[in-house]
C-alpha cells in the first residue's frame, strides 16, 4: 500500500495544471517524454530552431539540445528510414512529417521495415518509434495539406495508429505512444490544434492505446468517430439529446489495433450505429467497423448501420472544402434515418 510510511515522505507537489490547446498538450507530452527517458529523440523538418511549422516542438531544442531535437534535411524517406535504424539501437525516435500529404514516400519504411522488424528477427530487433503528422481538412490549407488517409496505413500489420481528438487525449496518448515498444503512426487533427482549450494536468500519465473512449453513455443509438469529426459528432449528439434521444458517443482514438469490442458492446446495447469518418468512403475504417459489428452483433441490430464519410473524390481545394467535410447536419440526418427504422 502506498504512503504507509508517510512520516518520512516529503509532501508531494500536486502536478501542474495548465489550460492547453492540442499544440500545447503535444508540446508538454514531448517535453515530458524527453525529460523522463534520455533515449527519446525528436527529428524532422523545421522542428528544432523553428519549433515546427505548427510550433508543436517549440522551445524543445533550447531545453534538450541539438543532439536530441534535430532539424533534418528535407527528405522524408530518410527521416522514416533513420527512425528504423535509430530505434534498433535503443533510441526512441519521434519523427515529425510536416504534413500527412508528404508522408507517402515514407511508406516503404513503414510497410517493409518498421512494422516487420520485430517479426522478422523474432524479437531480436524492435522498432519503438513514433511518426507524428498533422492531418485532415478544415483549416483552409493549400493543396496536399488536408487529406485523411489513415486507412491506407491501417492495412499494415504491426503498425499502431493513434488519433487524438482533444488536448487532454493528445497529451496522454502521445506519452503512451512514445513509451510503447511498437511503431506508432500518431496523426494529429490539425483542425483541433488551436480550436479547443482544456484544463490539462501535467501528471505524466499515459492514456490507454488499446481501447476506445466512451465520451457519453446512452441507450438509443451509438455514434462512433475519431479525430476532428468528434466535434461534429458531439454537436449532433447534443441536438439528438434535445429531441429526447439517449446517445452513446465513442471516440475510437486507437485506429489500429482497433478495439471493436467496445463498439460491438455498445451497439448490442443500443441496436443502432452511425460511424462518422472524415476520410473518403471506400475501404475506410468505417468499413472495418461495420464488418466486425455485423459479424458479432447482427441479431442485436435494430437498423442498418450507417456511415457519414467524405466523398471518394480528391480533397477539394480550401475554397470548397466544406462540401467535402462531413458536417453536423449529415450526422443528424443519418442518425434520424437510423432511429426511424
Amino acid at each position: 500500500m502506498a504512503n504507509t510510511e508517510s512520516t518520512h515522505t516529503e509532501p508531494t507537489q500536486a502536478p501542474k495544471q495548465i489550460v492547453a490547446t492540442m499544440v500545447d498538450a503535444l508540446n508538454c507530452a514531448l517535453a515530458q517524454a524527453l525529460e523522463e527517458d534520455e533515449q527519446v529523440v525528436l527529428l524532422g523538418e523545421d522542428i528544432a530552431t523553428n519549433g515546427g511549422v505548427f510550433r508543436v516542438t517549440e522551445g524543445l531544442k533550447d531545453r534538450f539540445g541539438v543532439r536530441r531535437v534535430m532539424d533534418t534535411p528535407l527528405a522524408e524517406t530518410i527521416i522514416a528510414g533513420m527512425t528504423v535504424g535509430m530505434a534498433t539501437q535503443g533510441l526512441r525516435p519521434v519523427a515529425e512529417i510536416q504534413f500527412m500529404g508528404f508522408i507517402y514516400s515514407t511508406m516503404e519504411h513503414i510497410v517493409s521495415h518498421a512494422t516487420r522488424m520485430r517479426n522478422r528477427t523474432r524479437g531480436r530487433l524492435t522498432c519503438p518509434l513514433v511518426i507524428r503528422a498533422p492531418f485532415g481538412g478544415g483549416i483552409h490549407a493549400p493543396e496536399h495539406h488536408s487529406e485523411s488517409t489513415e486507412a491506407m496505413f491501417a492495412h499494415i500489420p504491426g503498425l499502431r495508429i493513434i488519433i487524438p481528438s482533444s488536448p487532454v487525449r493528445a497529451y496522454g496518448l502521445l506519452l503512451s505512444a512514445i513509451r510503447c515498444n511498437d511503431p506508432v503512426l500518431f496523426l494529429e487533427p490539425k483542425r483541433v490544434y488551436r480550436s479547443v482549450k482544456q484544463r490539462l494536468t501535467l501528471d505524466a500519465a499515459g492514456l490507454p492505446i488499446d481501447s476506445c473512449f466512451i465520451l457519453r453513455e446512452g441507450q438509443d443509438i451509438t455514434l462512433v468517430s475519431w479525430g476532428a469529426s468528434i466535434r461534429e459528432t458531439l454537436l449532433a449528439a447534443d441536438q439528438l439529446q434535445i429531441l429526447g434521444v439517449s446517445v452513446e458517443v465513442i471516440d475510437v482514438a486507437s485506429i489500429k489495433p482497433l478495439d471493436s469490442d467496445t463498439i460491438i458492446a455498445s451497439t448490442k446495447k443500443t441496436g443502432r450505429l452511425v460511424i462518422v469518418q472524415e476520410a473518403a468512403q471506400t475501404l475506410g475504417l468505417a468499413s472495418e467497423i461495420i464488418a466486425r459489428v455485423q459479424e458479432q452483433a447482427f441479431f442485436q441490430l435494430r437498423a442498418p448501420i450507417s456511415r457519414v464519410t467524405g466523398f471518394d473524390i480528391p480533397m477539394p481545394y480550401f475554397r470548397n472544402e466544406a462540401l467535402y467535410m462531413p458536417d453536423t447536419q449529415q450526422i443528424l440526418d443519418a442518425a434520424q434515418a437510423t432511429l426511424a427504422v
Binding site: 539501437q89 525516435p93 519504411h109 524479437g123
Partner: protein
C-alpha cells in the same frame, strides 16, 4: 564545357582508385605496413569457406531444400574484407549478398540457410547479442537505416562505425543520395560500400548510369570517396580499415566503390545466359579474387595444393555440420507468426491466431494423416 570569361572555377574534384594485388597475383606496391601475410592466409581461408557455403546453398536450392538464393560468387573479397575489418561492436546493415561478412561476424551458416530457407528465425540469429541488421531485400532502403544507426552511435558518442552495403543498381535510387547527403551534412560514422558487380539482374552498369565512377556520386554530398579493386584483398583491407577508423574517430563517412563482377546469376531464379555474353563472363573469371590471392600466397610459400585440399575438405565438413543443423531445425508453430507482430498480441489478432491454429492442425493432418495427404509439399 569551356568556361566563358564570366565564369571562374569554384571547385575541382578528383577520384582515386586503390589497387595492390593484380589479377596475376603480383603486388603492384609493397604490402601496407600493418598488413601481415598471415592475415592474407586467413583472408583466403575465409573465402574458401564462403565459397563452399555458396556452392552448397545453390545445391540445396536445386534440390528443393532451400528457397531462392543470391550467390556471392566472385565478390567474396569485399564481404570477407568487411568481416575482417569490422569490430564486433560495429554494426552491419547489409543488402543481401554479404554472406562472408556474416559468417566472419559469427552468424553461422545455419542461420543464413534458415533465412533463405524460408524461416524467419534465420534473422533472429543464434547469437542474440549480434547487433547486425537482417538482410534487406527492398533495394537501397538499408542505406537509410544505416544512417539512422550511425546517428544513434553518434548521439550516444560510441566509438564504433556503421557499415552498409549495396549493389550498383541501388545507386540509381533516391535513398542512395539521401543517405550520402545526410552522412555528409551530419558527419556520420558510416562506411558505405558499393559492390559494383556490373549487373543489376539483367541491366549492365552502362545502362544504369552514365557516370565514370560510382565513387564520384559522393562528391555531390562532400563525403570522402574512393574506388578500389573489389577483387583485391590487399586494397580492400587497407581502404576499409582506414574508412572504419575515420568513422570510429568521428571524422566522417566514406563511400567506397568496390569494382568486382557477379560471376553467378542474380539469384537461383535467374538465368544470366539470357542477357550476358559468355566471353564477358570468361574474362571476368580471369580476374576473380580467389585465384589471384592463391597465386600470391603460393608464390610466397604460404599456400600449396596440399593446404588447398585440406582447407577445402575442412570447409566442406564445417558446412555439412551447418546444413545438418539447418535441416534439423524444429518447425515453427502457428503462434510464432502472430506473437511478434506487436509486443503483445491484440485481441483481434488473438482471435485470428486461434483460427490459424485450427488451420495449421488441418494442414498437418492433410500432410501426415492417414497416408492420404499430399506428400509433395
Amino acid at each position: 564545357m569551356k568556361p566563358t570569361n564570366a565564369q571562374t572555377e569554384v571547385a575541382r574534384f578528383q577520384i582515386f582508385k586503390e589497387e595492390y594485388l593484380a589479377a596475376d597475383g603480383q603486388l603492384l606496391h609493397p604490402l601496407p605496413q600493418n598488413l601481415s601475410a598471415d592475415t592474407l592466409v586467413r583472408f583466403y581461408k575465409h573465402m574458401v569457406y564462403a565459397r563452399t557455403f555458396d556452392q552448397k546453398a545453390i545445391a540445396l536450392q536445386r534440390t528443393g531444400q532451400l528457397g531462392t538464393y543470391p550467390s556471392a560468387l566472385g565478390q567474396e573479397a569485399i564481404n570477407t574484407a568487411l568481416g575482417m575489418c569490422m569490430l564486433p561492436e560495429d554494426v552491419l546493415v547489409p543488402y543481401y549478398r554479404d554472406h562472408s561478412t556474416r559468417l566472419i561476424r559469427g552468424t553461422p551458416a545455419r542461420d543464413l540457410s534458415r533465412y533463405w530457407g524460408g524461416d524467419e528465425r534465420g534473422s533472429m540469429f543464434s547469437d542474440l547479442t549480434n547487433p547486425d541488421f537482417p538482410d534487406c531485400v527492398p533495394i537501397a532502403t538499408q542505406l537509410s537505416h544505416a544512417a539512422g544507426v550511425a546517428t544513434a552511435l553518434k548521439i550516444k558518442q560510441l566509438p564504433f562505425a556503421t557499415v552498409t552495403t549495396c549493389g550498383d543498381g541501388a545507386t540509381s535510387r533516391g535513398e542512395f543520395y539521401e543517405a550520402l547527403n545526410l552522412a555528409g551534412v551530419w558527419q556520420l560514422p558510416l562506411v558505405m560500400v558499393v559492390n559494383n558487380n556490373r549487373w543489376a539482374i539483367s541491366v549492365p552498369f552502362s545502362k544504369q548510369s552514365s557516370v565514370q565512377t560510382i565513387a564520384q556520386k559522393a562528391i555531390a554530398a562532400e563525403v570522402a570517396c574512393l574506388q578500389v579493386d573489389g577483387n583485391d584483398p590487399v586494397g580492400l583491407l587497407k581502404c576499409l580499415d582506414e574508412a572504419l577508423k575515420r568513422a570510429r574517430g568521428n571524422k566522417g563517412a566514406t563511400l567506397i566503390e568496390a569494382l568486382t563482377y557477379r560471376l553467378g546469376d542474380h539469384t537461383t531464379a535467374d538465368d544470366a545466359r539470357r542477357y550476358r555474353a559468355a566471353a564477358e563472363l570468361a574474362s571476368a573469371q580471369e580476374i576473380e579474387p580467389m585465384i589471384r590471392l592463391r597465386r600470391y600466397l603460393t608464390a610466397q610459400n604460404l599456400w600449396s595444393d596440399e593446404l588447398e585440399q585440406a582447407e577445402t575438405e575442412q570447409s566442406k565438413a564445417r558446412v555439412q555440420v551447418e546444413v545438418k543443423a539447418y535441416l534439423a531445425t524444429e518447425p515453427q508453430t502457428p503462434d510464432d507468426f502472430f506473437d511478434y507482430v506487436y509486443e503483445t498480441c491484440p485481441p483481434e489478432l488473438e482471435r485470428q491466431k486461434h483460427f490459424a491454429r485450427a488451420k495449421f492442425a488441418r494442414l498437418q493432418q492433410a500432410k501426415h494423416g492417414n497416408g492420404h495427404g499430399d506428400q509433395h509439399g
